[in-house]
């Protein structure tokens, strides 16, 4: 059985000291150990940005793709190699700007993968520009007088897309985040885990303190029902999305694999010549 050390590759991340992504890295390593995974049974697929480097910092199969495209790559990988555990990672630029279309469609497609979205409301790797998650009025290099575009609500978007699992964590809450990731990977379908992972260099507004002050754990909301979509949406609106915990789970909607039939018959790993009778049958269409 693999231990934490088995998922460490001794590569020093290019993240700034104090970056929220370190906690996500640790939580993910702990989660996969808890799930009993071996490193070769895991593939991490990332986009571009600070969080895009994630796949290079955990000892497992890893693919660092292009900006915003982690999810399509991860979905193709999962369907082709269904025994593999596939986790996609990215930031709010990756998933909510350039890749928003893919995020929405991946959610509604409901393929059994997990998407960890590290949300810091700013572009870090390109050194401090606005993000679609930046608050109104937020000043950056590209919004010197303050952001005038409404921030994307990740949670409302996910609910609208027909999500079957939405979790939200915070880099300061390592244990809760680990538990959330374990639950997300176990969820039989697409699971979205949005993590508030503060940028200590380019975001002096949405800091650790800021989030600590605002975030409410759904466990502390009396009668919170993660299965009631309407109620969840109301809580999201009421708290402006600043909630943590397992926000929503729908176990009645089957995964893409189940509906398509791939769960029962997936032969994509079998690359060989068609059997003669199958070949003959295919010829029939063309006589």
């Amino acid at each position: 059985m693999a231990v934490l050390q088995d998922f460490k590759n001794n590569v020093k991340p290019n993240w700034c000291p104090g970056c929220g992504d370190y906690a996500v890295q640790m939580a993910l390593q702990k989660a996969v150990v808890q799930l009993g995974m071996e490193p070769h049974e895991l593939a991490l697929v990332c986009g571009i940005g600070c969080s895009g480097r994630f796949s290079g910092y955990i000892y497992a199969y890893g693919m660092h793709t292009t900006h915003g495209r982690a999810l399509p790559f991860a979905q193709g990988l999962k369907l082709a190699n269904h025994k593999l555990n596939v986790i996609a990672c990215g930031g709010d630029g990756d998933g909510m700007a350039i890749g928003l279309g893919h995020t929405f469609h991946a959610i509604r497609r409901n393929i059994n993968i997990t998407y960890v979205l590290m949300d810091n409301h700013v572009y870090g790797l390109t050194k401090g520009q606005t993000s679609p998650r930046s608050d109104l009025g937020f000043k950056t290099k590209t919004t010197p007088t303050g952001n005038i575009e409404t921030p994307v609500s990740t949670l409302e978007m996910a609910l609208a897309a027909g999500a079957t699992f939405i979790g939200q964590g915070f880099s300061l809450q390592l244990q809760e985040l680990t538990d959330l990731l374990v639950a997300a990977v176990r969820h039989p379908g697409f699971s979205l885990v949005n993590v508030f992972s503060p940028c200590v260099t380019f975001n002096k507004v949405n800091t650790y303190e800021w989030f600590k002050d605002k975030l409410v754990d759904v466990k502390d909301i009396g009668g919170y029902d993660a299965g009631d979509k309407g109620a969840v949406l109301n809580h999201v609106l009421e708290h402006e999305g600043l909630l943590t915990g397992l926000l929503y789970e729908n176990l009645t909607k089957p995964s893409y694999e189940k509906i398509s039939g791939l769960a029962k018959n997936n032969q994509m790993q079998s690359v060989k010549k068609l059997a003669p009778d199958v070949f003959s049958e295919l010829l029939e269409d063309f006589y």
Partner: protein, 582 residues
């Protein structure tokens, strides 16, 4: 020529059943053993708008249509105003009697009440079947020749529907027999010397079938003319074989998903046309950099931008070769017949895995939407080669932080061992960044140079090994001219060359089947053997000629024959253009 073959054509409004009319006739003729080439012209509309279907019927293989025709079924005004002008003088027009007959040409034009014939024995919707009956009579065929095909076509709708259609067919034949007996058997079909079983197959289906035969079980795509039939074919077949075709949100997702699936060990592909290829350029670079075996079927249409969605062109050559940034190692094949469409797509998956790179099968609208009789693919000759995949059994145990050297630069052929993720003791990384031998990002100059050369070396290895770069018909060591083409102009050029040879000219013909890496050396020998070089292509910027000049040092003058009006190339026109140059 006329005694050797017949060109039949039907024109009408989209939605009038013209396509099934052509399909049924062609299918029956295929069973009788004729060689066929069918092509449908249409506009980008859902219903309505003129469409016409042309079918060439011969005793020997034919690969394109001619402008002229022998027997024309006219069901709308457009057909009379345009298509009827191309008919042979000795030809016959059967025109729907509800149309005003203002035909002033020399062919024989006969009004037939298709609708009434259909209505009497079925419904007026079956006027296409009535027209089929008339066709059958003029060609000297009988109802027995068609009955089985009709039964197959309509049996899913019930025996009654079959019977009704057979009745309308008979009525059509009967009409000619009784009302216009002089037309009976007046255009006899060519004599068949030997009968061989053929497939009658659409280019796009041939490419889909080729992919499926090669073990491709994953496809992600976005609908686009003229490539959609590939995904429509795959969706019908993949699921039963444990695979899947996904229609996804855009071409970026399509290409990236296919790349993810290919990285995961499946044979995966997508199919698209110009606008889609533009969107895919990003992922093509990723596949090249991560050495992932991605296959793309690309069918060219008129560009740029949305261009001419339903019209033919070959103007994406440079896009297919260079649309992604950087020094990109990839392969671009260019099949020149529907049969090659099958085999090249099959082979694309072998090459993608052997050379661990993206492979584009560059087709064009005529190749994709033309339908042709083709010999049954030889099952025994189809061989699956997966290249250097490292199996778990050959891997010594490794532990974190040690990686498998997926991008090892030790091999002189540039081909390193590929690992399917999930393999124990094979952990390695991949990235669109420049990387070291384990796939970790690096900017070290030495490694940058070695990895770049490794990727490009694979292409040199490939070019040295590949045997199907050119389709050559060059009997003359001192030729008056060499005609060079690519993709679907093959048959048209071949016919023109044949005519010129009969007139005493020594003409060689080479169809370029590999565009990247470019087979310059092989092509150069034919170029040096000819006094004149004529490059024939469907674009305004002479892209193939440009490629030839780029790769052949001190290249002689190239004459261009360029067509970019959206139409396919006709023998008559190309012959005239070639004569002008000669």
């Amino acid at each position: 020529m006329k005694s050797r073959e017949i060109t039949w054509q039907a024109g009408g409004q989209q939605g009038e059943g013209l396509e099934s009319l052509g399909e049924i006739l062609a299918s029956a003729l295929n069973h009788l053993g004729y060689e066929l080439y069918g092509f449908r012209q249409f506009s980008s509309r859902i219903k309505g708008g003129h469409t016409n279907y042309k079918l060439r019927i011969a005793a020997k293989a034919v690969g394109t249509i001619h402008k002229s025709c022998d027997l024309l079924i006219a069901l709308d005004k457009d057909t009379m105003q345009n298509e009827a002008l191309n008919i042979q003088e000795q030809g016959i027009i059967l025109v729907d009697s509800i149309l005003a007959q203002d035909y002033s040409g020399q062919a024989r034009c006969v009004a037939i009440p298709f609708k009434d014939i259909a209505q009497k024995h079925g419904s007026q919707l079956q006027k296409n079947i009535a027209a089929l009956g008339c066709t059958v009579a003029v060609l000297g065929l009988t109802e027995e020749d068609l009955e089985e095909t009709l039964r197959k076509k309509f049996i899913a709708k019930g025996a009654e529907v079959v019977a009704e259609n057979v009745a309308v067919l008979k009525a059509g034949i009967e009409y000619i027999k009784t009302e216009v007996p002089s037309l009976l058997g007046v255009l006899p079909l060519p004599e068949l010397k030997h009968k061989e079983q053929h497939l009658f197959i659409l280019g796009n289906e041939a490419m889909g079938f080729g992919a499926l035969s090669a073990g491709a079980k994953f496809m992600a795509a976005y609908p686009i003319t003229p490539a959609s039939e590939v995904m429509e074919y795959m969706v019908k077949k993949a699921r039963k074989l444990g695979g899947q075709m996904l229609q996804v949100e855009d071409e970026i997702a399509a290409c990236t998903m296919a790349t993810g699936a290919a990285y995961g060990g499946a044979r995966a592909f997508t199919a698209t046309s110009g606008p889609g290829l533009s969107l895919m350029s990003e992922t093509i670079g990723l596949a090249a950099m991560t050495e992932t075996p991605l296959v793309i079927v690309h069918s060219q249409r008129g560009g740029p931008s949305t261009g001419l969605p339903t019209k033919h062109e070959q103007s994406d050559v440079f896009a297919a070769l260079y649309n992604t940034h950087g020094d990109t190692a990839k392969i671009v094949l260019s099949p020149s017949t529907i049969e090659e469409g099958f085999y090249d797509t099959f082979e694309a998956f072998n090459l993608a895995e052997e050379y661990q790179c993206p492979v584009i099968v560059l087709a064009d609208l005529q190749l994709s939407l033309g339908k042709q009789t083709m010999l049954i693919p030889e099952y025994d000759k189809m061989e699956i080669r997966r290249g250097n995949i490292v199996e778990a059994s050959s891997l010594p145990p490794i532990k974190a932080p040690e990686y498998f050297p997926r991008y090892s630069v030790a091999q002189t052929d540039g081909i390193s061992g590929r690992i399917i993720p999930g393999t124990p003791n094979g952990i390695c990384l991949g990235t669109g960044l420049e990387h070291d031998e384990s796939g970790r990002p690096t900017e070290a100059k030495d490694m940058r140079i070695k990895q770049t050369e490794k990727r490009l070396q694979k292409m040199k290895t490939f070019l040295a090994n590949y045997k199907k770069a050119l389709a050559v018909d060059a009997p003359y060591s001192e030729a008056d001219a060499l005609v060079i083409g690519m993709t679907s102009t093959r048959s048209c050029i071949a016919e023109v060359v044949e005519i010129l040879r009969q007139e005493g000219k020594k003409i060689n013909h080479v169809q370029v089947r590999l565009l990247l890496p470019f087979p310059a050396k092989e092509l150069e020998q034919y170029i040096r053997q000819a006094k004149k070089i004529i490059v024939v292509e469907h674009n305004a910027t002479a892209q193939l000629a440009g490629l030839i000049r780029m790769h052949i040092e001190q290249c002689p003058h190239l004459e261009n024959i360029l067509q970019y009006d959206g139409d396919i190339m006709y023998t008559e026109q190309l012959l005239a253009s070639c004569k002008e140059v000669l």
